[in-house]
């Protein structure tokens, strides 16, 4: 009797563990590059890396028609390549930056050198915000519509073709 009870208890405990880890597997699906497309942007809070009192919560509601989120870092070379395209986009769409695993001083000098395309750029020191929105690698760019849906996602540096596509989307 005692043994049966023990086995039952054991099976129960293992079942619980199974369920928990099963859900954790489902949750981590968002790391696949395309799974976040056409889903709503999770709520994230960004803290400005210049002034820690400045915060911005995304998604923003019904302000502009579209806005763009870009994950960047001063140590990432492709980010440097795509920067001029972000500068071109600056006046057409509001750009929110997520500064991924970077040092404040390096990030500031990066923007001083190449110009600041960001309406707001928050810091993501430990990379948790990037995980939250399902980033795959940096640089990465998202376009979010007024309902908070991610309508476009691009992994890797922006180039001319992507620039034209973004222009078509936000028209």
């Amino acid at each position: 009797m005692k043994k049966k009870f023990r086995i039952f208890l054991l099976a129960f405990v293992i079942l619980i563990f199974f369920i928990i880890f099963y859900y954790s597997l489902k949750a981590s699906n968002k790391n696949n590059p395309n799974t976040m497309l056409n889903k709503s942007l999770p709520v994230i809070e960004l803290t400005s890396f210049v002034n820690t009192n400045l915060k911005q919560v995304l998604p923003i509601i019904n302000k502009d028609k579209y806005y763009l989120i870009n994950i960047w870092s001063s140590w990432c070379v492709p980010c440097r390549e795509e920067h001029q395209i972000l500068m071109k986009l600056k006046d057409k769409i509001k750009i929110y930056g997520i500064n991924y695993k970077d040092k404040k001083s390096n990030a500031t000098s990066f923007l001083n050198e190449l110009g600041n395309p960001f309406y707001f750029s928050g810091s993501d020191k430990d990379g948790s915000v990037a995980i939250e929105i399902g980033a795959y690698g940096i640089p990465e760019t998202y376009i979010v519509n007024s309902q908070g849906l991610i309508v476009f996602k691009h992994v890797g540096p922006l180039d001319k073709k992507i620039y034209i596509r973004i222009n078509e989307i936000i028209k």
């Binding site: 489902k26 790391n31 990432c76 990379g127």
Partner: protein, 634 residues
């Protein structure tokens, strides 16, 4: 052609393993006769089939047969032959095949080294080993067949992740597998002994070497992994408490506890239940580690190959194996063994019991730190990462006490209070190590409390080991002592090195222009020139730096590589030794070198002692495996 052959071999080995199981059941349960020869032969055949299937996979990688998906996804014709071959196990499918090969290999090694074991126990062990082998073979064939085809056949492959293109990393996973997959054998041996009612102190004397062997491999594998992270990833450190690192550390801690408890079981016929539980735990944690690394639950820098779908299967396998083994334990564990567990205070067995409590505590801390972020994200959706701060703060004080325990435990007698007889020695060690600690701190001019405590405790252990070496009357002490002394010495040196490294290392991050130089923290860095070169599959940009520290100059040449397939940057570090310490530079991935390049400079104090101590620990384990002659017959 070869790829088809490999796939066929894999299926045949699956069938052979099935028939091995069938033969055992037919012989033992249905006919009650024991003809083992045929059974063992079948098992050996299944081993060779898996071996050849793996060799065929390697050939497919070597000749770049892109008709196979995994070759296409992980290889490229431009790659060096060595990396083409190592790419065979650098991906999920190939590494799972290697995983199965290691399971099977341990079964064969067991058959070759089991003259002291009766046939029924031998057969039953192989039976359980075949079950594990079958479970993973079906996982491999049905969810991740390494020989899956792609059509139309691509002309070029996608390439292997460049940070995995490193000679050390090519041999690091096989060693880790030889380590934690190796625990499957002692796991099977335990289940067999429980079923056949042969779980006794004789079993412990047999099982011990099957723990020592994988333990040594695992220690070595962890050391290699740590060394790889140190010089390839360019973060300047040797251990990051990254979940993937923890995945290999967990079975290591559990098996270390097991090594100690099994000695008590062998010598004093105590701790039977505890040893059985630890054996099961060690193997389950090994599987759990595989799950963490392979499934994609982790958000880690080197969760390289992951796929949530497969994760479900691995999770299912772990659940089944855990449930099955613990049911056997509950039903078959002999009641009479559970009673004798009295311990005399200050006896050697008592110190081993304490040691086990400490190890289990450390294990719990690591498990919680590794799984808490996963659980939190399931329940609240929050994502966090647990850093070194957590582990260092919680573990440091316990490690210090643990060191003292490691020093005085071996001085005690089995089964008897020996506090009075060793009081003098303990005090003497204390004086000697205090003296040495004062010397060290005067020399280094640092008086931080934690630093002093860390040095004191590790020196205490080292002193006690040296005392035992000097005091041993025989010219060459028994091999078992030798192995313990080696491993304990290694551990003492390891903690000493970590303490010194923690308090005296320097880190400088700076942006520096060509021809410029600067002076910081007593170190002068001069950026002399930059050069670039083109290789077969990458372009490389070198920076040449002159470092001046304490009137010594070092020339370092770190570089950045831009790989073509897949497009990725890697930072190649440049390291030079200054005695046991390292001068270490890595460059950041920057655009135009004329605008200045970010560099990370590290002065890693006594870091080489860490690798040396890993070697000591491993050698201890190997000596113990090689030198065991006093096995009982069961």
């Amino acid at each position: 052609m070869i790829s088809n052959l490999g796939a066929v071999l894999l299926i045949v080995s699956f069938l052979t393993t099935c028939s091995t199981l069938f033969l055992f059941i037919k012989n033992n349960i249905i006919q009650k006769s024991s003809i083992y020869l045929q059974f063992f032969l079948f098992y050996k055949v299944s081993f060779y089939l898996i071996l050849f299937s793996f060799l065929f996979l390697i050939v497919c990688f070597a000749i770049s047969d892109f008709s196979i998906i995994s070759v296409y996804e992980n290889s490229h014709t431009d790659k060096h032959l060595f990396y083409k071959i190592s790419a065979a196990w650098g991906n999920h499918e190939g590494s799972m095949l290697l995983f199965i090969l290691v399971i099977s290999l341990y079964g064969i090694l067991f058959l070759l080294n089991s003259k002291n074991i009766n046939d029924s126990l031998k057969a039953c062990t192989i039976f359980f080993q075949s079950i594990i082998q079958l479970i993973f073979l079906s996982f491999l064939i049905f969810t991740s067949n390494p020989f899956s085809k792609i059509f139309p056949i691509p002309i070029q492959g996608l390439g292997l992740n460049p940070i995995l293109q490193d000679p050390l990393l090519a041999i690091h996973p096989p060693f880790l597998y030889l380590g934690y997959v190796g625990f499957s054998l002692v796991f099977s041996l335990l289940l067999a002994a429980l079923i056949l009612k042969q779980y006794n102190s004789g079993w412990a004397s047999i099982a011990k070497k099957w723990i020592m062997l994988p333990w040594s491999f695992l220690s070595f594998g962890i050391g290699l992994g740590s060394f790889w992270a140190y010089y390839e990833l360019g973060w300047g450190g040797y251990w990051f408490w990254d979940p993937v690192e923890n995945a290999s550390l967990m079975p290591w801690i559990a098996s270390t506890a097991l090594i100690h408890s099994i000695v008590v079981m062998e010598k004093l016929k105590k701790l039977f239940a505890w040893t059985a539980i630890l054996t099961i735990l060690t193997f389950i944690l090994s599987l759990f580690g595989t799950f963490l690394v392979r499934s994609g639950v982790l958000n880690s820098v080197h969760a390289f190959a992951n796929d949530p779908e497969r994760g479900v299967y691995i999770l299912f396998i772990i659940s089944i194996i855990t449930l099955g083994s613990l049911i056997i334990y509950i039903l078959k564990f002999p009641k009479e063994l559970a009673s004798n567990n009295s311990f005399v205070l200050f006896s050697r067995d008592f110190s081993i019991l304490l040691n086990n409590y400490f190890l289990i505590f450390i294990l719990t801390v690591v498990i919680v730190g590794t799984t808490y972020p996963i659980l939190l994200s399931v329940f609240t959706g929050e994502t966090i990462s647990v850093g070194p701060q957590y582990y260092n703060t919680i573990l440091a004080p316990f490690i210090f006490i643990f060191l003292i325990l490691m020093a005085i435990g071996p001085l005690m007698k089995w089964n008897g209070n020996s506090l009075i007889s060793m009081k003098q020695k303990m005090f003497l060690f204390f004086l000697v190590s205090l003296f040495l600690t004062i010397l060290i701190s005067l020399y280094l001019n640092r008086y931080n409390f934690i630093f002093l405590l860390g040095v004191l405790c590790s020196v205490y252990l080292i002193v006690s080991v040296f005392n035992e070496i000097i005091m041993s009357k025989k010219f060459f002490f028994t091999k078992q002592n030798f192995s313990r002394l080696f491993s304990h010495l290694g551990f003492g040196l390891l903690i000493l090195a970590i303490t010194l490294n923690h308090f005296f290392s320097k880190e400088i991050n700076a942006k520096i222009h060509l021809g410029e130089s600067f002076f910081k923290q007593g170190i002068e860095i001069n950026f002399l020139k930059s050069e670039s070169s083109k290789e077969k599959n990458f372009e490389e940009l070198f920076g040449i730096y002159k470092i001046t520290k304490d009137n010594k100059t070092f020339i370092l040449e770190p570089s950045i590589r831009r790989y073509k397939q897949p497009q990725q940057f890697t930072s190649e570090t440049s390291i030079q030794s200054d005695g046991l310490s390292d001068i270490y530079i890595a460059m950041d991935y920057a655009g135009d070198p004329s605008t200045g390049i970010g560099i990370r400079f590290y002065y890693n104090y006594f870091v080489r002692l860490i690798w040396i101590s890993f070697a000591f620990i491993t050698i201890g384990g190997i000596v113990s495996f090689v030198g065991r002659k006093n096995e009982k017959k069961i």
